[in-house]
């Protein structure tokens, strides 16, 4: 058996397991936990296009989740447009706003860039909280939007009576976005993003317009992030600015990426697999004691990971898999 075959078999097993999981997990509560796990893995993968490959640390991506949710929901509520269409409109708007935010901020480096993205994100959230109507659009300020429950929803309504379709929708979205980032990371764009993120001057000297590539990655990332916003709106059927567009969500995405492994394909999934259950159980069992304790625990984990595994959990796991694969395929350890 060759290494390539082994990789394929492993991938197929993981994918099959993911598709078959609802056969075992039938409780809606646990299914919901899995759905949110995939949702976060998806968001972090989309974030990773900028935060991982392009080497900057944006901390305001919840705004784009919000833009997706608001756009598709307003279009559905006021104009009867299917959320499937609204989702794409939201993605396009998010991409444009992402580029507008990126134009001034990508000139900055390190902490200054982080702070600016936080400022932009919080600014937009506060604006949404204080706007009841924007022209003909009812935004409803801090009360948020309620997507009415339909009696006999069809697929076109992006609304389902059971959790199962949501599970498969987010699973397919996750697989698509993972395949997309895999493709990007092996193409010219991926090489150029990584080079520009690591040494912008050297990259420019090799013919790379670093700012343009970062903006392109930002547009892609924001577009994909907004699609998840529509998914969230249709899953929860209710959302409000503070819950959806706040810093909690932005930080959790960054936490998952940093702990899982920034700039790796599997990192967001591995990070979400570790942190999401932790988040859910600390919320269920510890939130009576102290709300927000889960973020403190995340912080502790992040500190430990950054000290002992600065590249995240993916690198050592990949090395372990490498060793196992060599044993199974019977190839020597020497290169």
């Amino acid at each position: 058996m060759s290494r390539k075959q082994l990789d394929r078999i492993l991938l197929a097993v993981v994918a099959l397991a993911a598709f078959g999981l609802p056969l075992v997990v039938t409780s809606p509560t646990y299914l919901q936990i899995l759905i949110l796990l995939f949702f976060y893995a998806y968001l972090t993968t989309a974030w990773n296009l900028v935060g991982g490959f392009a080497g900057v640390l944006p901390l305001g991506h919840s705004v784009f989740v919000g833009i997706g949710a608001y756009t598709s929901s307003i279009l559905t509520l006021q104009y009867g447009v299917s959320p499937w269409i609204g989702m794409l409109v939201g993605g396009a708007i998010a991409a444009v706003i992402g580029v507008i935010i990126g134009l001034p901020t990508f000139r900055m480096r390190g902490a200054y860039f982080c702070l600016c993205t936080i400022a932009f994100a919080e600014g937009i959230r506060v604006m949404v909280e204080n706007i009841d109507t924007l022209g003909p659009l009812k935004i409803n300020g801090p009360r948020g939007l309620l997507v009415p429950l339909l009696k006999d929803p069809t697929f076109w309504d992006y609304q389902f009576m059971s959790k199962l379709p949501y599970y498969y929708i987010i699973l397919v979205l996750l697989i698509l976005v993972l395949a997309f980032t895999w493709f990007i990371s092996r193409s010219k764009i991926g090489y150029y993003l990584a080079a520009g993120g690591e040494e912008p001057e050297a990259a420019a000297a090799l013919g790379i317009n670093v700012a343009n590539y970062k903006l392109f990655a930002m547009a892609l990332s924001c577009f994909l992030t907004a699609l998840a916003g529509t998914f969230y709106a249709q899953l929860m059927l209710y959302f409000y600015p503070k819950g959806l567009m706040g810093l909690d969500l932005s930080f959790e995405i960054a936490f998952i990426a940093l702990i899982g492994g920034r700039g790796t394909i599997a990192g967001p999934v591995i990070g979400a697999l570790l942190l999401r259950p932790l988040n859910e159980f600390t919320r269920i069992y510890l939130s009576d004691m102290l709300p927000g304790l889960h973020l403190v625990i995340f912080g502790l984990i992040l500190i430990l990971v950054m000290i002992y595994l600065p590249k995240g959990l993916t690198a050592p796991l990949a090395a372990l898999y490498d060793r196992l694969a060599r044993k199974i395929t019977g190839q020597g350890a020497a290169k």
Binding site: R186, S187, K188, Y191, Y192, A194, A195, E198, E199, E201, A202, A203, A204, A205, L206, G207, I208, N209, V210, K335
Partner: protein
């Protein structure tokens, strides 16, 4: 033979400081030109002006017959101007092959093709045994070679080498001289900044000497090292040329 680079009346002010002042120089296609001068003479500023990092305060730079005013480093790279950095800038977290492929992607969109170009360049620079190493783990001599490899992978017409010999041991300097000669034989015009005079003497067809941003001498390596102004510049005014 035509001139690949023509610099006329080049001047650059940084605030009150004039780093380069009314400099004229040209490079013929296929030659190796060395730019030398004491520390702080403005050599690297000249490189940065030619490579499009800074815009000149005055003067004209013509590359391959085209005025480069307003063109950014990435535009010039596409036109065939590549450079290395005095303080090497590898993409440290990536492998050597990855580093060189970034350069190779300038002339192709195919990952497969970029890998082929990169592997060929690595063989030229005798770096192929390091291709799977992380760039951050290379020795200083190999890092300097990697700088050249990245630049060479963009398939340049003119290559600016900024002190690629600095910090190398004498035998490594000899290897590097061989490599740079090999580049010229491949048809690349080379413009070097160098402090190691042995290398300048061995390599260059012509030498331009600058001090305080102004040209004080130009000519063959032998002529330039005997020039009174040059000796004064390096040793100080109180010494007479013997």
């Amino acid at each position: 033979m035509s001139n690949i680079l023509e610099v006329t009346n080049l001047t650059k002010h940084f605030g009150g400081l004039t780093a380069v002042s009314s400099l004229d120089l040209h490079i013929k296609t296929g030659e190796i030109l060395a730019l030398i001068g004491p520390n702080g003479a403005g050599k690297s500023t000249v490189f940065n002006l030619v490579a499009g990092v800074f815009a000149p305060s005055e003067g004209v730079i013509k590359f391959a017959g085209q005025t480069t005013h307003g063109q950014k480093p990435w535009d010039l790279a596409r036109l065939g101007l590549a450079r290395t950095f005095q303080i090497v800038k590898p993409f440290g977290s990536k492998t050597v092959l990855y580093n060189v492929m970034v350069g190779a992607f300038l002339r192709t969109n195919s990952t497969q093709k970029a890998r082929e170009i990169a592997e060929e360049v690595l063989v030229t620079l005798q770096l192929d045994h390091t291709k799977d190493m992380l760039a951050a783990n290379l020795t200083i001599a190999d890092r300097k070679r990697l700088e050249i490899a990245k630049a060479l992978a963009t398939d340049p017409k003119l290559l600016l080498l900024d002190e690629v010999m600095a910090g190398l041991r004498p035998t490594e300097v000899d290897d590097m001289i061989g490599i740079i000669r090999g580049l010229r034989d491949r048809g690349v015009t080379v413009f070097v900044i160098e402090h190691i005079m042995r290398a300048v003497m061995a390599l260059s067809d012509r030498v331009v000497v600058i001090q305080f941003g102004q040209k004080i001498a130009e000519g063959s390596p032998e002529a330039v090292t005997k020039d009174e102004n040059v000796i004064k510049a390096y040793l100080g005014g109180e010494y007479d040329a013997a």
